[in-house]
């Protein structure tokens, strides 16, 4: 059979992608009467709405309706986990870009033209436009979160060496190539079909129902594929879909809401930018004794998914390192900016930066090799419990570290780079090595559940539905491989169905790297149940023992005493149907053994850890700050990969996305809080030339997951994004080369040419 577990199968839609046959929501046929929606946004970051005059918009050509907060039959609230996050602002606005109302017209151009006619008067009030301002004013979206172990202040007081550090990282626009879009089609008696480019169909269903004031069972949310998500279509997709559903409910006509790129970037949340301050205590050897850290996240104007992001940042502040005494506080700063949200890594990438900065400072202080200090501080036997109480099992850190350093020829290249730098006054090169430990599971235990629905038809073809969404990460093919493996049939017998709340209810978002763990687990259960039924019936029918019914190679062999039956899988399906055996089964999976107490921040939040390590080499221009990644070597633990081709793509794509976050991708607001980087002409994600010309990627070999994941595979979506941290480390290494004497380097991210040049000049100024 072809395409079972662990096969390097292609993406199931690859052929349709390249021929243009893969349909995204904007490509679906529009029934006659379809209306197009355009949003009216607040131009002001904070203030009181004095007047919103929609008269001109209402009477503009083609306009069918203009809807505001008072046209919402249900609740004007699109919050994912909090409350009071209105779809349309009421009374006050909290960021420039906040939706105020929506125009519905017969064409998109007419809707947009009418939206521009809205007369808006907002009495501006002082706005909080930075983390620093929020810290000063103590405005939070939630109470500060604290993770502690031991007695950090006392341990710091005792420590032979202490250093403080401060730095920042910026946020990140998701820049999914397909912008936010939803298409709502009203049915009879309040039914509504909502096509939504969402990572979370169930939340789309809930938010639509909340806005419309109806039961969940009236709403069906569905999506075949997303043109990219990266976390940006988790909570944000829900309000976009909710607005479309509101329009469809109001007019009784199909309504499409597609955000043009600028509106998308202005109205939706991004990765959280962070400000860090810490003090680290360590011994003469460079062993960390204590860390006292403050992480302040820019939450934006509302709660959104910030609690989870802050929790993950705090639970990844240790990263690969054992910190005996820790006190870490996470502030969720309320600012008058876009409400930041999930983005691949979900706080993890921000969390792991702290120790990298600290260790480099420690190494400079002690005059020791920073890589050696990293390895010295790894989790190890006897030093293997995280600050939140979870033991680090299956510790692959020594392996990934050694393998990445070998792949990256670190020793040889360090010498080479030193020689280069000694004779190159303008251009400097630098090398960075980074170890990663990343916890897999949603931090909230209840989210770690999934369902699947598998039908076997009487020709032996199989329909597979599960709660996960396909956004390019290859989830559909991976889960289909699981089912193929169970039935031992060719992969092409399995048809992945569009994700729909009608097939599988009450699902979790496809996020936190858990897509194939959870949905693969659920599909495995469903397929196994069907196989069990088919086996039992075959045994009964042919008078064989169940153990003698073997599924292999698209066939089923029944070794009954005295006879040897061989049926095709389809023939057995037909036989089962005649024998009145149900050939449809649901499967349900919940991650075992996890628990978490958010109040104490203790527990075992993660089913397992994923490990990785990376080496990156960069060059900087000390005259302009221009910089470039010359080479990267990555080793990533994928357990026993379900699909090495897909996983390789995830690793490479995540690395480059992480590189973009740390280097060229800069969000820029003006002094009135208006985002001015609102499209690819102003917000620069990496292009093909930015990818390191030498990029070696290895999946860690012979490393089946120790815990019982689906076929011992591991998650891969997020961890490799953090491998790009080595680029940031390498940049600081190159900046350090601008001066012979050691000394601390501060390099805020994103390390644009301007920031690199500032760091170079700060360092040169010291000499």
């Amino acid at each position: 059979m072809k395409g079972g577990a662990h096969a390097a199968e292609r993406h199931d839609s690859a052929l349709r992608h390249v021929t243009g046959g893969a349909a995204y929501i904007d490509d679906l046929p529009e029934p006659p009467g379809t209306l197009h929606a355009a949003l009216i946004l607040s131009p002001i970051a904070h203030g009181r709405i004095a007047m919103l005059d929609l008269g001109a918009a209402r009477t503009a050509p083609g306009v069918v309706a203009v809807l505001g907060p008072h046209d919402i039959p249900g609740r004007n609230d699109v919050a994912a986990i909090g409350k009071d996050e209105p779809l349309f602002a009421e009374g006050r606005v909290y960021f420039a870009g906040q939706p105020l109302a929506m125009v519905l017209a017969d064409t998109l151009d007419r809707a947009r033209a009418a939206a521009a006619l809205a007369r808006i008067e907002i009495v501006a009030e002082p706005a909080i436009l930075s983390i620093d301002a929020a810290l000063a004013a103590e405005t939070w979206v939630q109470a500060p979160a604290r993770l502690a172990r031991g007695d950090a202040p006392a341990a710091l007081a005792r420590a032979p060496h202490r250093l403080t550090g401060e730095f920042r990282c910026g946020g990140q626009e998701h820049f999914y190539l397909e912008g936010q879009i939803a298409f709502a089609l009203p049915g009879e008696d309040g039914d509504m079909l909502v096509h939504s480019s969402t990572q979370h169909p169930t939340e789309v269903q809930h938010i639509c129902a909340r806005l419309l004031g109806c039961d969940f069972n009236r709403i069906t949310a569905t999506v075949r594929r997303l043109g990219g998500g990266f976390g940006g279509k988790e909570s944000n997709a829900s309000w976009v879909a909710g607005a479309a559903a509101l329009g469809a409910g109001h007019t009784g006509r199909p309504v499409k809401l597609r955000l043009p790129r600028e509106i998308d970037m202005v109205a939706t949340g991004k990765r959280h930018g962070f400000l860090y301050r810490y003090e680290v205590g360590f011994d003469d050897e460079g062993r960390v004794l204590a860390l006292d850290a403050m992480l302040a996240a820019d939450a934006g104007w509302s709660l959104d998914l910030t609690p989870g992001v802050v929790t993950r940042a705090l639970t990844h502040i240790d990263n690969a390192y054992f910190i005996p005494h820790l006190r870490a506080v996470g502030y969720a700063c309320r600012t008058n900016l876009q409400s930041n949200t999930a983005f691949r890594g979900f706080g993890g990438p921000q969390g792991v930066l702290v120790m990298e900065d600290a260790i480099d400072r420690m190494a400079a202080h002690l005059g020791r090799n920073a890589d050696a200090l990293r390895a010295l501080n790894f989790y190890a036997r006897g030093r293997d419990t995280t600050p939140y109480g979870q033991p680090v099992t299956e510790n692959h850190l020594p392996r990934v570290w050694a393998e990445a350093r070998q792949l990256g020829e670190v020793e040889r290249r360090r010498a080479e780079i030193a020689a280069f730098n000694a004779t190159s006054p303008i251009l400097k090169r630098g090398l960075g090595v980074f170890p990663l430990k990343f916890g897999i599971s949603f931090n909230s235990p209840h989210m770690n559940q999934a369902g699947a629905l598998v039908h076997v038809y009487t020709d032996g073809s199989i329909r597979l539905a599960h709660g996960g969404t396909e956004m390019g990460q290859g989830l559909f093919v991976k889960v289909a491989q699981v089912v193929a493996e169970v039935f031992q049939v060719d992969l092409d017998r399995i048809r992945p169905a569009a994700t729909s709340t009608a097939d599988v209810p009450n699902t979790s978002p496809t996020a936190a790297s858990t897509g194939s763990d959870l949905n693969g687990g659920a599909a495995f259960e469903a397929a196994r149940e069907l196989k069990r039924r088919m086996t039992a019936y075959a045994a009964e029918h042919f008078g064989a023992a169940e153990a003698d019914v073997v599924f292999a190679d698209n066939q089923v062999r029944i070794a009954a005493p005295g006879s040897n039956q061989v049926l095709s899988f389809g023939e057995l399906a037909q036989l089962c149907w005649l024998g009145r055996v149900s050939l449809s089964a649901t499967g349900y999976y919940r991650t075992p053994g996890i628990h978490w107490d958010p109040a104490t921040m203790q527990g075992r939040p993660f089913f397992y850890y994923s490990f990785g390590a990376s080496v990156a080499e960069v060059a900087i221009d000390t005259l302009t700050g221009e910089n470039r990644v010359l080479r990267a070597d990555l080793v990533q633990d994928c357990g026993r990969s379900l699909n090495p081709a897909i996983d390789l793509g995830q690793i490479e794509g995540a690395f480059v996305q992480g590189q973009g976050w740390l280097t060229c991708e800069e969000l820029w607001w003006d002094d009135r809080g208006r985002l001015r980087t609102v499209g690819p002409s102003t917000y620069k994600i990496p292009g093909s030339r930015d990818v390191p010309p030498v990029l070696n990627v290895r999946l860690l070999e012979n490393a089946p997951a120790e815990v019982a994941t689906v076929f011992r595979s591991k998650a891969v979506g997020e961890p490799p994004l953090m491998l790009a941290t080595a680029v940031w480390t390498a940049l600081r290494d190159a900046i350090a080369a601008c001066r012979q004497a050691p000394g601390p380097i501060r390099l805020d991210a994103p390390a644009t040419p301007e920031r690199v040049l500032a760091a170079v000049r700060a360092r040169q100024a010291k000499s």
Partner: protein
């Protein structure tokens, strides 16, 4: 006259009756023709999701086959051309084209939304018969963004695509139009004269109409801002505006010659322009965009003004009243204001050829190396006697509300040397302060670019840019 736009769409002849000439090609493909394979990712020419391949006969008679951005191309521009979309690559039997197959074989698609655009850029690359060197591949891909794959497999697909035989372009003779065209639909008027005389007459008669060259600036009014000009005079069909000739000691560059057309002649005389021009926009942009349009837009951060300022170019400007020459130094009057009168058209840009002992360098700083607008652009034309600088023209973009010369830097180069000139460059401007760079950064790097110039002059063979490593 009320002509109809005629074009080939995936080899089939199409005549449009009620489509506004200001409709973007992307909207027409998706909404009117139902070809949904071509995607909108940004509607500003920057992401490449809308890339299609256009085959057309250039004004010099040669056949062109280029990737362009459908989102900012206007239908009126495509009269007489062949447009090929991702659907038009697939064989009649539904089999994928070799270029498409390469993308599946290398796992070069994830979410797939960017893919049709990449496939079309790859098709143009294959049709161009280029070798699969990485530099050429990156150049060919600079106008396409992918957020999922990290590009490595796409670059791999491009290596396979290089040298793939592709069918020759279709015969366009049936679409050839004898003379001028005028497309008028729904209050939109798009005239395409075929002689300079007619163009000038139209310009005089319709001062309210906008001139259109490649539409890589003006097209954004239709795509992103959804408000195209009501009346356009299209200059791309005027042969006189396409000429690239040597006139005496100058190269005369027709104002409507595209970057792609102008590059070989410019690079022949000023090799430093090769990397510089390869970073101006993307292939899609350079296929349509023109240096003339770059001057017409008069953006303070355009890349050509510093070059023309440093070269000491002269603009030939014409109207029905006659032709005049305007020194480039006199052309930029203020923020996006130029010396052009309402009835005038830039005909050509005359660039004096390098003399013995002359060197030319230029630099572009941007957040991302490819397809980015300059934070600071600089160009230097120096007259050397031995190692001594005896003449200097230095110009910057991004340092003020207009592109401009740096007279104090020039003087310091001659009188005080590199370090003095660098200090002068740091001091002589009040630069922009925005998302591309703070005023401080711009000031600092203006000086440092002069120091880089010094390093180049001191040891021409040594790498002074990270890109060279």
């Amino acid at each position: 006259m009320a002509d109809r736009i005629r074009l080939l769409l995936n080899d089939a002849e199409v005549e449009t009756a009620d489509v506004s000439p200001m409709t973007t090609l992307l909207d027409w493909l998706r909404d009117t023709r139902g070809l949904k394979g071509t995607k909108e990712g940004c509607a500003e020419g920057d992401c490449g999701a809308c890339t299609v391949v256009v085959e057309r006969r250039a004004a010099d008679g040669t056949m062109r086959r280029e990737a362009i951005n459908a989102c900012i191309a206007l239908m009126g521009q495509l009269d007489g051309a062949s447009v090929r979309t991702v659907e038009g690559l697939t064989g009649s039997d539904g089999a994928p084209h070799a270029v498409q197959a390469a993308f599946t074989e290398t796992d070069a698609t994830q979410c797939g939304f960017c893919t049709p655009g990449f496939v079309m850029s790859a098709f143009a690359f294959a049709a161009g018969g280029e070798r699969g060197a990485d530099g050429a591949i990156h150049e060919a891909l600079a106008g396409n963004l992918c957020r999922c794959t990290g590009y490595r497999p796409i670059v791999e697909a491009m290596r396979r695509v290089a040298g793939t035989a592709v069918a020759p372009p279709p015969d366009l003779s049936a679409l050839a139009r004898g003379g001028d065209a005028c497309f008028e639909v729904g209050g939109h008027r798009f005239v395409a004269p075929t002689t300079l005389a007619v163009a000038l007459r139209l310009r005089a008669a319709h001062p309210d109409a906008a001139l259109l060259a490649g539409a890589t600036d003006l097209g954004l009014l239709a795509s992103r801002h959804r408000k195209p000009p009501a009346s356009l005079i299209h200059l791309a069909r005027v042969p006189e505006l396409h000429r690239i000739d040597r006139v005496g000691d100058s190269i005369s560059l027709g104002a409507a010659a595209s970057y792609a057309d102008a590059t070989p002649a410019l690079v022949e005389h000023w090799p430093a322009l090769a990397p510089y021009l390869s970073r101006l926009g993307s292939r899609q942009i350079r296929a349509m965009g023109t240096p003339g349009g770059n001057l017409g837009t008069a953006s303070p951060i355009g890349d050509m003004p510093p070059v023309f300022l440093a070269l000491g170019a002269a603009l030939r400007i014409a109207s029905v009243r006659g032709e005049r020459r305007v020194a480039i130094d006199e052309f930029f009057l203020g923020y996006r204001r130029t010396a052009l009168a309402p009835d005038e058209i830039i005909v050509a840009i005359d660039c004096p050829l390098p003399r013995a002992g002359e060197v030319f360098h230029c630099d572009k700083l941007s957040k991302r190396r490819d397809q980015d607008i300059s934070t600071v652009a600089a160009a230097y034309r120096l007259q050397l006697e031995g190692a001594r600088i005896v003449g200097a023209r230095v110009a910057f973009g991004g340092m003020a509300a207009t592109p401009l010369r740096a007279p104090r830097t020039e003087a310091a180069l001659i009188e005080g040397g590199i370090e003095a000139a660098a200090r002068a460059a740091e001091a002589e401007f009040t630069p922009l302060d925005d998302w591309r760079g703070s005023a401080d950064y711009r000031r600092t790097v203006a000086g440092n670019l002069i120091r880089r110039l010094g390093a180049r002059l001191a040891s021409p063979a040594r790498a002074v840019e990270v890109e060279a490593l």
